[in-house]
Symmetry: D3
Subunit: 232 residues, 6 copies
């Protein structure tokens, strides 16, 4: 494990533009053995092969890592997350350009390594399709999971442009395969133009909870969070 802060020890903290580009300047390892005793591991999923609009999010994990984190407790929450938890950067899943199935498998495997060590994964994307291997890895480790999903869209299409695996379909597939327990699946923030009647009928049939953006405005954040948490 390499600790990017070590060289800057005399002054207490590494500037964000210098040193190894890990998430928040956290220690970096690609070795599952070093996950012992870790609470949270950051995993990058640099792929955008399955978008249907503008690509570029394959550059996302690296861009997020270029930004630093300020130190100390959050002024309003009063919690210092990095004091309370041991967090490391576990690097990127070994995606294969132009082979999205291989990339999904690599993401599922890498997230699985984190879970196998008893560590909570946080995944940096990447296009929305990566939710599929991410959540599937969790379900393989723990059984069907509850899910709180913040999004404009529900990503519950059966197919998009005739393609069954892309950024619009992961939630449909995860529910259908049993990785997500629909009774404990809550969507927050829906707005705009999609999905339509057919998808909402499917959601209703499965007992999925959808909270729209107007619910957030009308009920307030506290009530919306309450309705989500009670399902988990």
């Amino acid at each position: 494990m390499i600790d990017p802060q070590r060289r800057w020890k005399p002054h207490g903290y590494k500037p964000e533009y210098a040193g190894l580009a890990t998430f928040g300047g956290l220690p970096y390892t690609e070795d599952p053995a070093e996950l012992a005793g870790v609470d949270v591991a950051i995993v990058g999923a640099p792929m955008d092969d399955l978008v249907t609009d503008r690509p570029g999010t394959r550059l996302g994990p690296r861009a997020i890592r270029a930004v630093g984190l300020e130190q100390g407790p959050h002024l309003e929450a009063g919690i210092d997350a990095f004091e309370t938890l041991r967090v490391v950067d576990y690097g990127d899943a070994p995606v294969t350009p132009a082979d999205p199935a291989a990339s999904h498998a690599a993401i599922e495997r890498t997230v699985g390594e984190v879970l196998a060590a008893g560590v909570v994964p946080i995944v940096l994307g990447g296009d929305h399709s990566i939710a599929e291997p991410d959540v599937r890895a969790c379900a393989r480790a723990h059984g069907p999971v509850g899910l709180i999903h913040f999004d404009t869209h529900t990503d519950t299409a059966r197919e998009l442009y005739g393609v069954e695996i892309n950024h619009g379909t992961p939630m449909y597939r995860l529910v259908e395969e049993g990785s997500v327990d629909p009774k404990r699946y809550v969507q927050i923030g829906l707005r705009g133009y999609w999905p339509g009647e057919e998808e909402f009928a499917w959601q209703a049939k499965h007992g999925i909870t959808a909270l729209f953006m107007h619910d957030v405005r009308d009920l307030g954040i506290r009530e919306v969070v309450g309705r989500a948490v009670v399902r988990m």
Copy 2:
């Protein structure tokens, strides 16, 4: 067919930022029947699903169409291409996002429609993988083709990252399947770091002609063109 110049007839020519965005402000059709009497058809291939580096060339055909063409003969060549030839914009091949095989099939089919009408296609990409369906469509129409290929790389990999169809492999596949006649295949401009010994051995075995960038510098453009043309 829609002629974007028609509304601007009183002043002779449409400004490039206004009117229907076709290549060079040329007439637009998606109807193969309207290709009769046409000499050249522009086809867009807006896909970048098979790059292994930075994506974005799916936006290429539209970006090229946003730029106008000046009118009249070329000052130094003395030829007015659009006076001499009847050129139309035949639109984009109906690519499928996140389904590169379907996109390749659509490109091959669309280029094939142009060829079937006895029209010369010019294809706007798109990532380098589109050379595969483009050239295959030509070979299906006319038999094995001669090819002059301007590029830094040879794009003759057997696979890249274990993937057999991507932007680094089209020329290997086209030669192996017989769509390109290797004796009439000339590469111009090779430089940099790829390919290596194995690929060059394969090229030599097939009698492919490779002209490096230092050949262009040392021999001059006229000689390099001569060596290419004589093979065709």
Copy 3:
């Protein structure tokens, strides 16, 4: 009329980065005869010759057309506009670069063609001066119009830098020439630094209704809309 969706029929919908760049992927025509049966027509007004600050909005209509529209009913409104109404893209008015009077005439003529067919025009700009030919075309077809005008400024200057036709004067001119009925002219969202006493005196004399940004904050959107609609 060309329907950009036609080539993508097998998969239901064209991706926004591919195919003919029409507004929302709608059918395209420049032929007034094809407006029969149409409810709404999009018209581009690509000119910025009359700005007094930074130019560039001549590139606006094409930029708007590069963005797609999602399909289906709006999730919160429950209405599918493109299901309910037949909408087409009628192309750009044939503007003349560096001749704003000719461009205004072209915009007025093109919007007039839409109105003559009994179709509702929606115009994509372009600088604010295009409101003048747009509204004048409406008044020529229907008599003095009521107007709800969302803007920071009132655009009711008599002249700006001594120039009588530019992006700061259309509303003064439209009221004075009788194209806009000032009793049914409501401005919403005024804020910042312009206009001054003289212009507000002119507005008061004509009975124009001005609702400031602080009215929107203090009264709420519903009340503001009510005060506007009651005047129409």
Copy 4:
């Protein structure tokens, strides 16, 4: 003194992209003798030598001057600041690249010239470290000052990366040296991750008032302003 509006007199006002680039198109002087009768002077402090993250704010004063000001009274406040007050652009402090101490001295001296003429300075930055020479110049002219400080952070570090003068320390230094009266020092808008317990203990000891972002949300702007003003 040069008045950039003079050449545009026939039309009343200079467009923002033309003419001498002074703040808001105001008259420009570098001569302290010409500050007589002036109410407010703009001073540029183009330095970013003391940032600890991304540099670039040395380009700030020039960028601010490239933007124009609209004329006339503010529509909602009903006050025309430039009618009521005589404001001039006093140019940039003569900073020395790569010598932040010399730059701070130049800023303090230039702001001091403005104060010596009985004129209110408004300083365009530049990185946050410039608060130190700005406020010190005020304290030298008027004795310890009260301060209302809008910021995410308190900028009250004793040192950052072991460096005592940089963009994170000016407020600590100004209070400690007596330039700012801590009883009349009010911070508004604190949020995020810094500072920590030690700095807040120091603030408490000195009687500094800290209003967090949640105070602004919970108490409202009017109450927060009242709490700040009452301290002055």
Copy 5:
């Protein structure tokens, strides 16, 4: 006259990003009386109202002034232009947005003031149409002028899009009105796609010398310069 270097005297030279934004940090005046004894005056012509493609060059003079000049003699030429000549920045011509005729008049008047003082003007554009008032001011002061014109195009159209005054017509108009002596008019660098036969016939009739880009390549810079200078 304001000398932006004055405040930086102790260190010899103002950094380019600080201080009054004049061309090269040169002294600035808008007063013709201060042109006495000056050799060269910089004049900005910030207009782009007459382009037929992409606008934006109205921001040109300010952008050029944002860049500094290095001091001392040119290393290869051995001449220190600013030591040899007294150069000042005379500011921008008072252009009128959205009124190109008024802007042209202002440019002609401002360049005329420079010439009346016996000073050589250098004009920063702005679109190509400004050549018309620039050269006309010279001809009014000195009679028909010889002209060396570096450009891709000849700018000798009679009209463009039916408009007689724009960025494609100044040279036609200057020759026809007698401001440019066609026998002493040399064009260097023509290439690409415009103009056509009609314009070249007009050029031939008037005895204008056109040197193409291939002439520069084939004859060399020295010979091309010789052929131009001999005509003056």
Copy 6:
């Protein structure tokens, strides 16, 4: 040491946008003990505190590392550098923001660690001032060094804006302190406007060799390289 290629072993090579961002995807270590057996080590020097113009090069080392390297021998040189030499990324020197002296010391120390291990350092900047600690570290290890310096400028100022350590002075200081042997110091590519007579007199006195850009043009690259190498 972490080898970013390890996770991608099945496919032979890591895509440049994924995985740990080291130079060319090379193995990464911050531990001097791991330099044993290494031929070349990359060191980042992310500082721009000493520029006198536009800052930003502190972001340089990270930007260079975001770009990949192609594999295999160079097509024209026929050498595979990474096959022939063992190269590692040794990370960034632990610079201190806003404390250039501390940053220079850190750079000198880090480059010194590389040299102490018998490894050749390649340093990624950063502003030109970093040449000073880089070369000094070499001289401390090996005695006065010969230097081939490719640059527009000589960077041999005694001071710039009265400041003795910045991006314009390193070469003066290195020669004066004996770290660079002036007889073996060759500058290649000088052009433009700096330095002047005084600096060239100093160069002549010390026997420094200056080859201008016109020498490169007139003598050719081979001769210029020969004249440089013969001095080493």
